[in-house]
Structures are given as structure tokens and as C-alpha cells.
């Protein structure tokens, strides 16, 4: 067979040999593996809220019975609520439980046992797919990257998951793989079983293919982390800066905002502090943001996210974790931004999925209980509204016979040592 001349030309090329060198390096690193290179999901160049959540979840000594899941609606209620309750500043990067909710639960449910403990995985922009992968990766007691799971496997008894229509359909997010939660969790948990559903755009699919093929490409964050550590050390050698050493950020907000336009989100541990509320809390008009988020009715995304809700509830059933869904309060202004009839369809569908999986759904979107003055904008509760939300939630949990039992059982049952680990990843 005649060899095409192009092959002869390329075989003598130093560029081709350079590329071969890169492939060799890639294979070599793959053989060495992540361990000896001391790659770790916690050594990441971009620290997003999920990074702090997982890092602190891993460190947590007290075992919470209740895990809280949800997007920014739940997050603002939780942090704002605690800032109002304690009258102290709350740092969402290190504050991962709801003190006020723990208090109301402990006061409401049968006393004499131990106090309720919660742990929150409430992250801004969290989709239902994120809630599912967080549960699958972190709350089933099987993640090898978590030291606590190696020492003593842990999983909560109850998940309280605050949901809203945006968590099912968000024009700002093209696919489940586009969220910071997905990007972080995939570094510590094999999510390849979600390949078909997670990557929606052609670019995402190509990128994922490259990640599968190349060890170096897949570990870009680890290598960028190394480079940043070296650059940090170099700066320190030239001009010592304690802030760089402590990884705290002292950068004017306007510059951080500009950086976010071009760079992946990276939150310093000392950023985003929530202060206790003033006498009157301002109301911010965020309709433009939500108009964009609700912009296009995307049936495919909606179906996919409902699929994840079903999987989450099924996982809870298998893992013996009771999942309680909470339909979060919204203003009428926000609901009116959605496509006509969308909200009712969403609610009906949530109820159907919950019923099919024997899960409870509590609808707290009651405008008589949450008038506009409890809101900080069209979707998020303000700090006092956050406190009010957890008070109403506790009452709702106590007044429903099934949830009352679930919550009461969660504290009566021992939370360590008797957990069955027979649920393998293939049963997802």
C-alpha cells in the first residue's frame, strides 16, 4: 500500500514528536495516578460555596440527623434567618447549619433526647440534579474522599429539600453539568453514570470526551492549583503578604465582580458575610434576573430535572433516608414572570412524583403566611422572613402526622453504627 506523502511529511516533524511527548507525559501521569501526585478535590483553584460546604462536612464531628438541601431560596432563608436570630454576622462559607431551625425543632418535638443537628447543602443556583448528586455522593456514607466516611460511615436520617420552579428550569444553565456543584462533585465521585443526561451542549460533550481521553485535560484544575500555589509562594518570597498565606481575599468588590465576568467563581473564605438585619430590610427588584431565568420554556430540561427528583426520592427510599420536599414561598410578582400555567403544572408534577415515591411534599407557598414584607426580592426571603420560614416549617412538620413521626424518629434512632451499606452505586 502506498503511504500518502502527508504521512511521510509529518513523520519527520518535530511538532509531531512534541505532541507524541505530550501523549507520553499524559500516559505517564495516568500510570502514576492521582495519589502520588497528591491531587485532591479540596486542592482546587476556584473555591465556590460547595467547596466550603463539602470541606466542612468532612470535618464535622457532630453527626446531624437532618440534611437541608436547596438553592438560594433556602440558602438566604437559612443564613439570613440565623443572622436575625443570633443578631450576629453569619459567614455562609463556614456556617452550614440552621441554628434557628434546630432550636425550633428541639422545642417543638418530644424533649428529653438530644438536640437536633442540621447540616445544610444549600447552594445558590442548585438544581435538582445537584441535589441528587450531592445526596448520592456525600449523604450515603460511601465517598472515599471523605475522611469521615472512611473512619465511620455517615448518612442523615432525613433530608428536607426546599424546591422552587427555577430549580427545574433555568435558562441561565444549559445543562446539569454546568453548575459549580456538578463540577466540584465530579472531582470526588464517579458521575460517569450520568453522562447521557449531564452534558447537553456539543461543546460540553466534546470537553467531556477530552476529559476521558486525557489525564492532563481532566486534571486541569489540579495543575492550575499547583501553578497558583507556586505563584503565591513567589509573591510571598518577594513581598510577604499574610492575606495570601491565609487565602483570605482583600480585594475591592468591584474588582471581584469584574473578575467573575472572566474567571470561574472563586470565593474567599472571608467574603459574602451576612450582617444582622437593620430595622427595615430593603426590597431589591430582581425581576430582570428572573425574567432571564424563566426566559425559555425548555421541556427537555424540565423533564430531565424531574427525572433527577424521582431518582433522588428513589435513592432516599433505598438508603432509608426520608426525604421531605418543601415548596418554597415566592412572591406573586415572581410567579407572574413564568410562562402561563407553568407554576401549576410544576406543582402538580412535584406532587405526582412525590406520591409515586411515597415522599411528603409540604407546600409553604402561601401568601397569607408569607406576604411581601417577608421578602428581600421577588424570590428570596429577607433575614426576618428566613426566621419566619423556619418557624412556619417547624409548625408544618409538627402538624402533619407523617412528618411529625419522621422528625421524631430521626432523633430517636441511633445515627451511627447501624447503617446498612448494601446499596451499591449500580442500584442508582
Amino acid at each position: 500500500m502506498k503511504i500518502p506523502s502527508i504521512v511521510k511529511t509529518l513523520s519527520a516533524s518535530y511538532v509531531v514528536l512534541g505532541f507524541a511527548g505530550f501523549c507520553l507525559l499524559d500516559c505517564g501521569l495516568r500510570v502514576i495516578g492521582e495519589g502520588p501526585l497528591s491531587f485532591s478535590p479540596f486542592k482546587t483553584p476556584s473555591r465556590t460555596p460547595i467547596y466550603y460546604n463539602v470541606r466542612d462536612f468532612d470535618k464535622k464531628q457532630a453527626r446531624p440527623q437532618i440534611a437541608l438541601l436547596g438553592s438560594s431560596l433556602m440558602m438566604t432563608a437559612l443564613h439570613g434567618g440565623d443572622a436575625a436570630y443570633t443578631n450576629l454576622s453569619v459567614n455562609p462559607n463556614i456556617h452550614h447549619s440552621s441554628q434557628y431551625f434546630e432550636k425550633t425543632l428541639t422545642e417543638t418535638f418530644p424533649p428529653g433526647k438530644q438536640a437536633f443537628k442540621t447540616f445544610a447543602f444549600c447552594i445558590g443556583g442548585e438544581m435538582v440534579s445537584d441535589a441528587f448528586i450531592l445526596t448520592d455522593a456525600l449523604l450515603t456514607g460511601q465517598n472515599q474522599h471523605l475522611s469521615q466516611n472512611i473512619a465511620a460511615p455517615f448518612k442523615p436520617k432525613v433530608i428536607i429539600y426546599g424546591i422552587a420552579p427555577r430549580d427545574f428550569m433555568d435558562h441561565a444553565l444549559p445543562s446539569p453539568a454546568a453548575t459549580t456543584v456538578f463540577k466540584f462533585v465530579k472531582r470526588m465521585h464517579d458521575l460517569s453514570y450520568l453522562d447521557d443526561q449531564a452534558y447537553a451542549t456539543l461543546n460540553e460533550k466534546i470537553e467531556h470526551l477530552f476529559e476521558k481521553i486525557s489525564f492532563i485535560y481532566a486534571h486541569r484544575p489540579d495543575l492550575v492549583y499547583r501553578q497558583q500555589a507556586l505563584a503565591g509562594a513567589l509573591i510571598q518570597a518577594i513581598r510577604h503578604d499574610p492575606a495570601i498565606e491565609a487565602q483570605t481575599v482583600h480585594c475591592p468588590l468591584h474588582i471581584r465582580k469584574q473578575a467573575y465576568l472572566e474567571l470561574p467563581e472563586d470565593t474567599g473564605i472571608n467574603e459574602g458575610i451576612i450582617e444582622p438585619p437593620e430595622a427595615t430590610e430593603p426590597f431589591v427588584d430582581n425581576t430582570a434576573e428572573y425574567k432571564y431565568r424563566y426566559k425559555k420554556y425548555n421541556q427537555k430540561q424540565l423533564d430531565s430535572q424531574f427525572g433527577f427528583l424521582d431518582r433522588l426520592l428513589a435513592l432516599g427510599q433505598r438508603q432509608n433516608i426520608r426525604v421531605i420536599l418543601i415548596n418554597m414561598p415566592l412572591t406573586q410578582d415572581n410567579i407572574s414572570l413564568m410562562a402561563p400555567g407553568f407554576y401549576d403544572t410544576y406543582l402538580k408534577r412535584v406532587k405526582t412524583v412525590a406520591r409515586s415515591r411515597n415522599a411528603i411534599m409540604l407546600d409553604l407557598n402561601d401568601q397569607s403566611k408569607f406576604p411581601k414584607n417577608w421578602f428581600g426580592d421577588s424570590a428570596h426571603l429577607n433575614s426576618r422572613g428566613g426566621m419566619h420560614f423556619f418557624k412556619v416549617l417547624t409548625e408544618a412538620l409538627a402538624s402533619n402526622e407523617i412528618t411529625r413521626k419522621i422528625i421524631a424518629d430521626s432523633i430517636e434512632a441511633p445515627d451511627l453504627g447501624k447503617i446498612q451499606l448494601d446499596d451499591k452505586p449500580q442500584s442508582r
Binding site: L25, I244, I255
Partner: protein
């Protein structure tokens, strides 16, 4: 499809393989098809625009060539230029003209009229329209038109240069089709090296400088005069590495198919005068402006004043070509004035041997370099700032080295106190290194060091470059600056 995207990383090798594995007679068609696919990857509908203009200009070229009288030739040329310029004006300047009209009628107390519909600027329109104008004008000037429609269509749509140039000349480009292109190992190595260098310029340098510059240019009122100088220097290097990086990738990609496209940059910040700067910066545009605007305006003919006037008009329109906004117009005008002043100064210099000796001496040359560089940096403030008032705010602070910050007196710069993102603390290291890189590259070029580099070192260099580009390419890389033009 961006040059720094994964889709291009797949597209280019696929087209490369198809091209070289196909018989010669199909190669132009393969490249043409690939170029149209490349263009349609953004907004498929605009293929009609580029196709329509291609057909029209091809026909105009033939009509000008075949016209028997000079008057007829002129008519066809005028029609061709009108078509091209009106298309450009519609897509690029409709909003600008509408705003200008509205501000004018507002003075008479009339209500403004918003644009009744949205106009999307097609990618690369400024570049391919200039290539079409060059084609019809040169046919009018006596050059022979391109016979093959496929070759002409490829000239206009050739994907490596389609979006942001360099602006090609058909006399240089078309003969390369006639000779069967040959791929040698040396050409291939050069091409891929250029692509790697271009990508490195973009993702390692320009993208990092981009958000640094963004931080300052979007909030100039918050920084001291010294800080703003650093931001302006950063933008000067950002735009150079961004655009020259793009050009390197374009030239490398073209060479993979055996085609040479014009050089666009030649270490511009080593220019000793503004005139020299324009011989080193965006060369394909400055030569186009010279040949198709400055000379038709009268060029240097018609006396000194006319010459200076023509320089200013040419550069002002050149500024407007970059974007439909007043700050681009001012940037172009500023360069026009600088070129006019330089012309006047050259006249004075030629009459004073003392001045000529002083300027041609080593310290004089160094002073010229620094002066030219800073004059260009001041121009970049107009270019980068979103409005003229922002640019003026910045320049006032820069030129007075204003130490005030929101009314408070600051004793030092704000920049050294910003510790994150890392580009902020590293900028004081990075900018001097980039400044040194310019003369260093000139020295390497002069000594021919690259040609004498051992093969093993070249292989290792290549591996390192691929590694760096793969690892440090951000997930969301900003677009090349010149894509918007």
C-alpha cells in the same frame, strides 16, 4: 467557532486531513466548504450575506474589467463600492447613525426614534468588505480579475482569516492556488508552532491581562493616577497579545494548507515614532488604509496642508472602522493628529542637523521609543474606555498623577494592596517582563537563534507549549478583541 475553542481543535485537523488526502482538484472546494461551515457555526443565516456579496463582487469585478470606457468602469466601481459600504454601514453603523440623528433632533425638541428592529453585526464583515473593496478597486486600476469563482469565493471566505484578518490581497493569495500547494515538514512545523504561540499569547497572557484591565477601565474613578497608568499599560499588552495571538493562529492555520497570509505585527512597541508604529501594528489594515483611502484622498499630493488633512481623515475613518462609537472615532483622530505632528516634526528635523543628530543618537532613540509607546498607550485609553467621558476621566487622573480616590487623599497606589485574583499582585512582575520580551524577541530574531536550536530542544519546547495551552486554557475564554470589529 473561536480559535481557542475545543471545536476548532477538532475542526482544524479534520479539514487538514481531508485537504491533504484529497486529490488536488477537490482541495479548493474542500477549503471553501470548510470556510462556510466555519462561518455558519456562529449564525447560519449570515452565510447568505457572505455568499451574496461574493457573487456581487465577482460580477462587478468582471463588469469593471470588461467595460470599454473609463466612465463605465467608474460607474461599476462606484456601484460595487456603494454596495459594500452600504452593507457595512447598515450592519455596523445603523445604531450609531440613529443615535447621532436622535441627539441632533433632540436639540430641536423632537422625540427620539429608537431603532425599530434589532441588527446583529455579522462576524468578520469589516474584514471581508475591505477585501472586496480592494478587489474591485484593483480591477479598476488594471489588475486582471480572478477567473475561477471558487477561488474568488475562497479568497473572501478563507476561514483562517475570515473573522479578523489579516486583510489579504488577491494578487498575493490567488497565485498560491494556481501552484499546487505542497506541505513540507518545515512548513508544517512552522504552522503548528505559530498556532501554539498564538494560543499561548491568548490564553496565558491576554486573557489574564483582560480582566485586570477590565477592573480598572470599568471603575477608573476608584483608582489613583498611578494605578490607572498600570491598567493602561496592561491593556496595551493585552490588545497586542490578543490580536497578534489571533494573527499567529490565523497565519499558522493558513500555512497548514500551504497558504501564506500577510504579516500583521512586527514588534510594534519598539517603534521610534507613531508613523513607524503603524508600519508595525495591524500592518494589513494600515496598508489598506494607505492604498484605498489615503491615496484616493490625494495622499501626499497637493501640498503640506492637504497631506496633513488626508492623514487625519484617513486615521479618523480608520478609527471608526474599529467600531461604531465616538471613542473609536476619537482614537482614530488622535492617531491622525499624532501622524500629522510627526510629519511636521520630520520637516523640522530635516532642516536641523543638531536635532537630527540628537534624535538619531542612542539616548535620543530610547527617548523616541518611550515617547511613542506612551503616546500609543494614551490612545489605547480612548480605544478601551467605553465612552469618551470615561477616557477623559482616566486621562486627567493619569496625566496629573492624581492621588485622590473618591475624594480621599491616598499616599500610595491601591493596586499593591489587592491580593486576589493573583494577577493583581503579579502584575508588577508581569508587565516589566512583557516589556523586556519585546527587545528580547527582536534580538532572538536578529541572531537567528531559533534556526540554530537543536531539534531535541524544539521537541521539548513543543511538548511544554501543548501542556501549557491544554492546562491553562480557561473554560470560558474571552473572545478575541478584534472579533467584534
Amino acid at each position: 467557532m473561536l480559535f481557542n475553542s475545543l471545536s476548532y481543535a477538532i475542526f482544524l485537523p479534520v479539514v487538514f486531513a481531508l485537504f491533504w488526502l484529497s486529490p488536488q482538484k477537490y482541495r479548493v472546494w474542500i477549503l471553501l466548504l470548510a470556510s462556510y461551515v466555519f462561518y455558519m457555526s456562529w449564525r447560519p443565516i449570515f452565510i447568505l450575506l457572505i455568499l451574496g456579496l461574493t457573487v456581487a463582487n465577482y460580477l462587478f469585478g468582471s463588469l469593471i474589467d470588461q467595460a470599454r470606457t473609463n466612465t463605465n468602469k467608474k460607474i461599476w466601481l462606484a456601484l460595487a463600492c456603494c454596495l459594500n459600504l452600504l452593507t457595512l454601514a447598515y450592519f455596523k453603523y445603523a445604531y450609531f447613525l440613529n443615535d447621532a440623528l436622535n441627539s441632533l433632533i433632540a436639540r430641536w425638541g423632537m422625540a427620539p426614534h429608537p431603532m425599530p428592529f434589532d441588527i446583529v453585526l455579522p462576524l468578520g464583515i469589516s474584514f471581508f468588505v475591505f477585501e472586496f473593496i480592494h478587489y474591485v478597486v484593483d480591477i479598476y486600476r488594471g489588475h486582471k480579475p480572478i477567473k475561477s469563482f471558487a477561488a474568488f469565493a475562497l479568497f473572501a471566505s478563507f476561514f483562517p482569516t475570515q473573522i479578523a484578518g489579516p486583510i489579504k490581497r488577491f494578487q498575493d493569495f490567488i497565485p498560491q492556488f494556481l501552484d499546487e500547494p505542497k506541505l513540507t515538514t518545515a512548513k508544517f512545523d512552522w504552522a503548528v508552532s505559530m498556532i501554539l504561540i498564538g494560543l499561548a499569547k491568548k490564553v496565558l497572557i491576554a486573557d489574564n491581562l483582560a480582566f485586570f484591565a477590565q477592573g480598572g477601565f470599568s471603575n477608573p474613578q476608584l483608582f489613583s493616577g498611578l494605578d490607572l497608568w498600570i491598567f493602561a499599560y496592561a491593556f496595551a499588552f493585552q490588545i497586542y497579545f490578543d490580536f497578534s495571538g489571533y494573527t499567529d493562529i490565523a497565519r499558522g492555520s493558513a500555512m497548514l494548507f500551504g497558504y501564506k497570509v500577510p504579516v500583521n505585527f512586527n514588534l510594534p512597541y519598539l517603534a521610534g515614532s507613531v508613523a513607524e508604529f503603524w508600519h508595525r501594528w495591524h500592518i494589513s489594515l494600515s496598508t489598506w488604509l494607505r492604498d484605498y483611502l489615503f491615496i484616493p484622498l490625494g495622499g501626499s499630493r497637493g501640498g503640506k496642508i492637504a497631506n496633513l488633512r488626508n492623514l487625519i481623515i484617513t486615521m479618523t475613518l480608520g478609527g471608526l472602522w474599529h467600531g461604531a462609537a465616538m471613542h473609536f472615532l476619537v482614537w482614530g483622530f488622535y492617531h491622525g493628529v499624532l501622524l500629522a505632528l510627526h510629519k511636521v516634526f520630520q520637516g523640522i528635523k530635516s532642516r536641523s542637523s543638531f536635532l537630527a543628530r540628537a534624535i538619531d543618537s542612542r539616548p535620543g532613540h530610547l527617548a523616541s521609543l518611550l515617547l511613542t509607546f506612551h503616546a500609543v498607550v494614551i490612545g489605547w485609553v480612548f480605544f478601551r474606555a467605553e465612552t469618551n467621558s470615561t477616557a477623559i476621566t482616566m486621562l486627567k487622573r493619569m496625566l496629573t498623577l492624581s492621588p485622590t480616590l473618591d475624594g480621599h487623599h491616598v499616599v500610595s497606589m491601591l493596586l499593591p494592596t489587592i491580593n486576589y485574583p493573583l494577577i493583581y499582585p503579579t502584575i508588577f512582575l508581569l508587565l516589566p517582563l512583557l516589556a523586556i520580551a519585546h527587545p528580547l524577541v527582536a534580538m532572538i530574531d536578529k541572531t537567528g537563534l531559533i534556526a540554530r536550536t537543536p531539534r531535541t530542544v524544539k521537541i521539548l519546547w513543543c511538548t511544554a507549549m501543548i501542556f501549557a495551552v491544554v492546562v491553562f486554557s480557561p473554560d470560558k475564554s474571552p473572545r478575541f478583541i478584534y472579533f467584534q470589529f
